[in-house]
């Protein structure tokens, strides 16, 4: 472990030097390749000890010490934390490219554009054309994105990554509270783009991985967490395309029931507006109309026909408790029932 910590410190120093020291002026292809080798080593440490709380704490402590000493040497040094380790190569690259002392010969190696056929034979494959490949990848995504406009490849990738992480965490015996904390912070990160987060979560719930058991466990965990986050759940039900909601309802009974509850909640919050002659959501900012709620129910019944009888029975009971009048505008349940059975 001592050796690992030493390597870790050295790599942190390497990152600082790459970004801030004029020493890089003397770097050659071999130095460059070695630097990326160490960066990959740290990325490996990250994934290896991600779920090991004890070792993670030791590593974090070591990083704190290294940060302190580096701060003393380099003015404006930015600390490195445990999660930065997963991005070590990227950090190294950014540092190098922003360092004005980086020799142009090194840049030429990084931006080398070889044909794919030749690429396999070159030395220092890891660094040769590294930037060129990144640029090609990003550019290709941009070229193709107008063609995939609404299908959201990025949300699907993020969903799959989320699922992978959950699987790792759960199989590594991570405590529920910590995993929930990660999910919560995940939600916070996406604050500005909550519609997108809904797509990511649904993509995660629809992901199919190789290990069925691990997948069930992690998707169950995510569903349980979602039920505690009623606002997210409601937003999902109103924001994502109805075909996706139906897919989710078909795939997960837990989601189906939660979805049904959300629909009933929406209905229960409605009041009859005399002026509009229609049921409207009273206290919220009217995101869902009576018409939409009806459509949601109908779509759900088409997808899960067995549900219809129970739900109708429930709605009927609610209608009876409201007085069982056969007049429009008195009970939302009665009107909903007749709208569903129209």
């Amino acid at each position: 472990m001592e050796a690992v910590l030493k390597n870790l410190s050295s790599t942190a120093e390497l990152l600082a030097v790459a970004a801030r020291s004029s020493v890089v002026e003397q770097w050659d292809k071999q130095t460059l390749s070695r630097a990326f080798h160490w960066a990959r080593y740290c990325e490996h440490l990250f994934s290896r000890f991600l779920n090991n709380t004890t070792i993670r704490r030791v590593i974090e402590k070591q990083l704190r010490l290294t940060n302190e000493s580096l701060r003393a040497v380099f003015t404006g040094y930015a600390d490195i934390c445990f999660s930065d380790l997963s991005q070590c190569q990227h950090l190294l690259l950014v540092g190098l490219l922003k360092n004005p002392e980086l020799p142009i010969s090194i840049m030429k190696i990084l931006f080398d554009t070889a044909s794919p056929v030749n690429n396999q034979q070159s030395d220092y494959q890891d660094v040769t054309g590294l930037c060129s490949h990144i640029i090609q990848c990003k550019s290709a995504c941009k070229v193709l994105s107008p063609l995939t406009d609404l299908s959201g490849a990025d949300a699907e990738v993020q969903g799959a990554v989320l699922m992978e992480r959950l699987e790792d965490l759960l199989s590594g015996g991570g405590e529920a509270s910590r995993i929930e904390h990660i999910l919560n912070s995940f939600l916070q990160e996406g604050e500005g783009a909550s519609g997108h987060i809904c797509l990511v979560i649904s993509a995660a719930l629809l992901t199919r991985t190789n290990s069925a058991a691990a997948q069930t466990a992690s998707q169950d965990f995510l569903l349980d967490w979602l039920q505690k986050k009623q606002s997210v759940l409601q937003q999902m039900c109103s924001a994502i395309p109805s075909t996706l909601i139906i897919d989710l309802a078909k795939r997960h009974v837990k989601f189906r029931d939660a979805y049904c509850d959300v629909l009933k909640k929406w209905a229960s919050e409605m009041e009859y507006s005399m002026s509009e002659g229609e049921w409207v959501q009273a206290n919220t900012n009217r995101t869902v109309s009576f018409q939409r709620v009806t459509e949601h129910f109908l779509a759900l019944f088409v997808a899960c026909p067995s549900l219809r009888k129970d739900v109708e029975k429930e709605l009927n009971a609610l209608n009876i408790s409201d007085g069982d009048f056969d007049v429009r505008g008195l009970s939302v349940w009665g009107d909903l029932l007749s709208a569903i059975n129209k």
Binding site: A114, H133, I134, S139, A140
Partner: protein
């Protein structure tokens, strides 16, 4: 890299200095494209990629010829802006050669030892642009999420790209039902758009599944066309070896792109005719390796194109044995592939050979192995009589000078060339037939070698062929030593005749000779002796080797030998040894394992283009 440079270099223009208006044009284009983030700007960039790359190549030459960056900037003040804009156009940066050129231009503007403020500024700018290109992220929220999940940006982008490619690939795979309902809106419009967007991505390995799906999408819908620029980009990347394609993808590329198909056929021909040492087996392998027979079997349209190229090749060189042999070998490879696929393809023989005499199609395209040996002679007699009737009818009707009849005869002959396995069977049978039965078969053999009746010479050629056959028959039925010297001498005289209109092709006689050697009842020693004497004195060793090995290949392929299979093969081996020996004595320097030269290297050029037949009688 070298290949990439090679791919770019040929476009290099000789123009030494660039004019400002042209740069202005491309600069305005770059401004109009912006970041190519709208479908129309994306499309326009993709469509201009090839010309843009040519221009960048010129720019690069120009930059490298200037003494300093300040000088370049003075001459072309817009240059920096132009290159800067291109850096942010994903079409340009996604395309490997485009990106290479762009970066080379930037390196060209970078001054190792900046001499003034302009050059220092240019250096800083180049570093900044490149750094931003490689490390800046558009979607900060996604990056923050991925960082929390421990996914590095590089890996994330790759994952998204792979996902996008998979999604698009899936969409393209969905079959279209608009064939039945013309008004039905289908997603096939996307295919054109996707193929346009793929122009800069053709050599990108991660996009390969999409490229493959586009190439191989079932063409059920009129809207499902592929962009010509996409096909051109693919062909040029494929032919410059910057792109590896699977077999089926290559076939699809040929199906969609006529120019790439023509290029493939021409490169096959070049390969066959420059690689002069190849044996019939090697030729067969070469053809199979070219994938063309397989492609022809899958798509009637590909076959028609390839067949047309062979047809015009034959018209140019009707007497050339190696052209004939190439066509025969190709046709039989094609036909075997076609047979394997027949349950899948809708193309009938009629559709494949629209110009051939229809009544001869099935009889000629029946393999000898598909009928009992006893029926061969009858079948050949029928073929010979049919062809004879056809030629007589056409040649008689041809007296008014029209070429229609002429073409009909050519098409019949061309079909016979393609199905020359029947001519080979005819020669085999001629080795054992009685004089009264040999007429039709000799006619067929003569027609194969001398299709035109120029100056009514076929009759005398036929007479000579019969004469040669008589000599051979008498030599090979003569069981005691020594052989009648006069027969041997007459045969050699026939073989050594100065090519003229009435002399039969030496190949005709050689084929007869070797078939007599292999199939007659003459003893092995006796046959060897005749072979050695005739071949030695006529100087046709290499040609004899060639004829023998194609005979052997046919026997192996057709597996149509009777009970004396063993005997025949042993004899062939023995004659091969005899000939190899003779080759070694004749040309001691040549490698003994490949003693034969290709038939395209004959005794004299007249041998190939028989003097009696002005070149290209059938040529239009």
């Amino acid at each position: 890299m070298a290949q990439l440079q090679q791919q770019i270099q040929p476009h290099q223009a000789a123009k030494p200095l660039l004019d400002v208006p042209e740069l202005q044009f491309w600069h305005d284009k770059a401004v109009a494209w912006g970041q190519a983030d709208r479908p129309d700007t994306l499309k326009d960039t993709c469509l201009h990629m090839s010309r843009l790359k040519d221009y960048l190549q010129q720019l690069l030459t120009h930059i490298n010829n200037m003494s300093s960056t300040s000088e370049t900037m003075k001459r072309l003040p817009l240059l920096g802006q132009f290159l800067g804009r291109l850096c942010w156009n994903p079409c340009v940066t996604a395309d490997a050669p485009g990106r290479w050129l762009l970066f080379q231009c930037l390196w060209g503007l970078y001054s190792e030892h900046p001499g003034n403020a302009v050059e220092t500024k240019a250096n800083q700018w180049i570093r900044k642009v490149l750094c931003q290109l490689a490390t800046e992220e558009d979607d900060a929220a996604a990056q923050a999420l991925m960082k929390r999940m421990g996914v590095p940006p590089k890996e994330y982008h790759l994952k998204v790209l792979i996902k996008m490619v998979a999604m698009l690939q899936e969409n393209i795979g969905k079959s279209c039902s608009s064939l039945f309902d013309i008004n039905h809106r289908c997603s096939c419009d996307n295919i054109l758009a996707a193929s346009e967007a793929c122009v800069p991505l053709v050599t990108f390995p991660e996009a390969a599944p999409l490229i493959s799906a586009l190439l191989q999408q079932p063409a059920t819908c009129v809207r499902a066309a592929l962009s010509q620029d996409f096909l051109d980009a693919l062909s040029s990347a494929y032919s410059s070896k910057c792109l590896l394609l699977e077999e089926q993808e290559v076939v699809s590329l040929w199906y969609h792109s006529l120019s790439s198909l023509e290029e493939a056929v021409l490169s096959l021909l070049e390969c066959v005719f420059t690689n002069t040492g190849s044996t019939p087996q090697e030729l067969k392998w070469q053809l199979a390796h070219s994938l063309l027979p397989k492609a022809c079997a899958q798509h009637c349209s590909i076959f028609l194109v390839v067949n047309d190229i062979f047809r015009s090749l034959l018209k140019q060189a009707e007497e050339n044995e190696s052209v004939k042999y190439l066509i025969q070998t190709f046709s039989s490879s094609f036909f075997r592939e076609w047979g394997l696929l027949q349950h899948k393809t809708s193309g009938s023989l009629k559709a494949l050979f629209p110009q051939s005499p229809q009544s001869l199609l099935i009889p000629l395209w029946t393999w000898p192995s598909e009928m009992p040996q006893e029926a061969w002679r009858h079948h050949l007699n029928w073929l010979s009589c049919s062809l004879q009737r056809l030629t007589e009818d056409e040649e008689e009707g041809d007296s008014d000078g029209s070429t229609r009849g002429h073409l009909r005869v050519f098409e019949a002959w061309y079909l016979l060339i393609q199905c020359a396995h029947w001519v080979q069977v005819a020669v085999q049978l001629l080795a054992t037939l009685q004089p009264e039965d040999c007429g039709p078969l000799l006619w067929l053999l003569t027609f194969y070698h001398h299709p035109t009746k120029r100056g009514h010479h076929r009759t005398s050629q036929l007479v000579h062929a019969k004469e040669a056959w008589d000599h051979l028959r008498s030599l090979f039925s003569f069981l005691a030593h020594p052989f009648p010297v006069d027969r041997v001498q007459s045969l050699i005289t026939l073989l050594s005749l100065k090519p003229q209109q009435t002399s039969p092709s030496p190949f005709l006689i050689l084929k007869l000779l070797l078939n007599f050697c292999v199939f007659s009842q003459q003893s092995l020693n006796g046959s060897s002796e005749i072979l050695q004497t005739v071949v030695n004195r006529s100087g046709l060793v290499n040609e004899a080797v060639r004829v023998l090995s194609s005979l052997e290949l046919r026997l192996i392929e057709d597996s149509c030998l009777s009970s004396d299979t063993n005997r025949v093969h042993l004899r062939i081996k023995a004659f091969q040894n005899t000939l190899t020996h003779m080759c070694a004595t004749l040309n001691p320097a040549t490698n003994q394992t490949h003693p034969q030269t290709l038939i395209t290297e004959p005794r004299s050029s007249e041998f190939i283009l028989d003097a009696g037949f002005s070149q290209g009688t059938f040529a239009e």
